[in-house]
Subunit: 351 residues, 2 copies
DNA sequence: CTGAAAGCGCTTACAG
DNA sequence: CTGAAAGCGCTTACAG
């Protein structure tokens, strides 16, 4: 089966009627519609997307841009695959398809996005890993293509975003540690320009302030967002003269490398150094002592992202009357042993 | 900037010349070409993909279908992201873009593929997770869309595929275990219809045969391809009356669950039960005792997949004169402690 | 309820 | 070397 023309010929009716029947337009005789649907199914006809898109001006495809940096792939980040289910559950209600657009690691993300947008392969975009200054946001705003970002940025203004509650994480982690007597609390923050590092740092400073603890820049350890980064962070902490008694990590995989370096040095997490990890991660699940970290639902976040995106699209916004919310996505503390909270202040196990 | 018409008007030349200049056709005055390229860059013009595709009959997009089953995403499989770099390094040579098509978990993969193919959103497809009987292969063959599968199947005939060397893994794992005195060797195989389970089982049976060991069906433990599956496998092994002394796993994440269950039972891998894992995985890297497993390069596999695919596409096959090879992708043994090989046959550490 | 026709944005023979 | 025109496969006013 080639095109709608062949199908129409086979049924001996006009292509206009075939098209209307297939697209569920109301003004079609029900018997005609039935015949068309049966024949289409039989002959395996599905409308050519380029023809549709060109005529309609929409592709019915939503793009999820993935930055497949070496770091991400080496560390096996399953974050995006975790989002797709939730995204699709919403998009499929509107017959929209989701495609993932992996930006080659040797291509500039901005250039890549520009190309994809200009070619009009998608009706809307979801981007993530926002930088503090992120030209992609200006680009998307300028071209007026609907989009939502996972992650805030200092770029743009009044654009739809959703972000994790880094502030909340910083607060509850610091509170928890301070309640246990810690005053020297380090953080391992990403060394690149990704915005979450800045947001977390802010939250951390404010939390310290609330407790009347002076901010010490030497306790902000900047490392790569990876296992290796965690290893490096532990290494630097061990070298500090006035060593911190606690550390908060800002990337899920850091804990693994950090544990490794600590273990090499005979430093036991939870006993000798309190550790609070970031997002709960299957891979960090088997660390001993168990890691105190934060839990969130990736599929639910996917749903939220999709709904926020659709709320910005004229053709769908009436389904989502709340409009595009700038949502701070909550994380829930999962207590483990790594912050020594199960021990009393004297280091003995609580009863 | 909207379309080629606006760009042509702005330059005061015809759209045909603009198109030819942009597409690098030879018969264009170099000065004209320069002006066109400059103006396009300036005004951010990029050809609308639907227009191009409709006219040319090709999309210049290659699709990588992803099955995002719950198992896969929950377990955070980074397999596909690991492939993209290699795939893109080849595809970009030909100005082809890679998109990932995640099949919703509630949609039948065959129906999903059918829809994507019929809509002509891609010029060619890469599919994976082939089943023993996989209708997708017949579908793709029938519709004559170029494709390559990652994984063999009993379906179809003479189609391009690449698969991991399960036979080689089975052989070298069994050989290694037998050399160490094991005669009762279990395998933990996937319980679904995925073809690799059958291929591995065959390899395992032949390897046993070579060593004159009778095949015992009770030693084939069928579980899910996940951490949980590994846990379940260990559980079932522990319940066996005539317990095996060794087990070979056929999915990378099983080792983690298996270790957990063994540890609960006080059974130490390498000492009380020899364990050989499948693909080396960052997450399994920190298991103690270290896991004996098999290493492969995902990026290189991506390159191979892309080249095999292009060899089947008329427009590109002359670049890849070797044609579409049915390639068995090798894996290399990475010795660890989990199979007790570092110990002598008497259980003492070797010198 | 159906058909004939226009036109979405492009590329590519064809003519000059 | 350039322009005018056809046509890729569809959807959608418009007319009947």
């Amino acid at each position: 089966m080639k095109g709608i023309r062949q199908l129409a010929e086979h049924l001996d009716i006009s292509i206009g009627t075939v098209s209307r029947a297939l697209n569920g337009k109301p003004d079609v005789n029900e018997e005609t519609r039935r015949r068309v649907l049966v024949a289409a199914e039989e002959l395996g006809y599905v409308a050519n997307q380029s023809g549709r898109s060109l005529r309609q001006g929409t592709t019915n495809v939503i793009g999820l841009m993935i930055e497949s940096s070496k770091e991400t792939t080496e560390n096996g980040d399953n974050f995006f695959l975790g989002l797709t289910g939730g995204l699709q559950s919403v998009l499929s209600r509107h017959k929209l398809d989701l495609i993932m657009l992996p930006c080659p690691s040797d291509e500039d993300p901005h250039e890549y996005l520009k190309r994809m947008v200009a070619r009009r392969v998608v009706d809307a975009m979801i981007i993530s890993a926002t930088q503090r200054i992120d030209k992609r946001i200006d680009l998307l705003s300028r071209t007026k293509i609907p989009f939502v970002t996972l992650g805030r940025s200092a770029s743009g203004s009044n654009y739809p975003w959703i972000d994790l509650d880094f502030d909340g994480v910083a607060n509850s982690a610091v509170d928890r540690l301070v309640a246990h007597g810690h005053r020297r609390i380090a953080i391992a923050a990403p060394s690149n320009d990704i915005n979450l590092g800045f947001i977390f740092l802010d939250g951390y400073r404010h939390a310290l302030e609330r407790h009347g603890i002076a901010f010490d820049p030497s306790l902000v350890i900047r490392v790569k967002s990876s296992e290796q980064g965690g290893y490096q962070a532990a290494h630097e902490i061990l070298l500090l003269e006035d060593r911190p008694t606690a550390v908060i990590l800002i990337y899920e995989l850091m804990a693994i490398g950090l544990y490794r370096r600590l273990t090499e040095a005979g430093v036991i997490p939870g006993r000798d150094l309190a550790v609070i990890g970031f997002r709960e991660e299957p891979r960090a699940k088997f660390l001993q002592p168990t890691l105190t970290c934060f839990r969130m639902s990736l599929p639910d976040l996917g749903v939220e992202l999709a709904e926020t995106l659709l709320a910005t699209m004229p053709a769908y916004s009436h389904f989502y009357p709340e409009g595009a919310r700038n949502c701070i996505w909550p994380l829930e503390l999962v207590p483990g042993e790594s912050d020594g909270f199960h021990l009393g202040n004297n280091g003995q196990r609580r009863q």
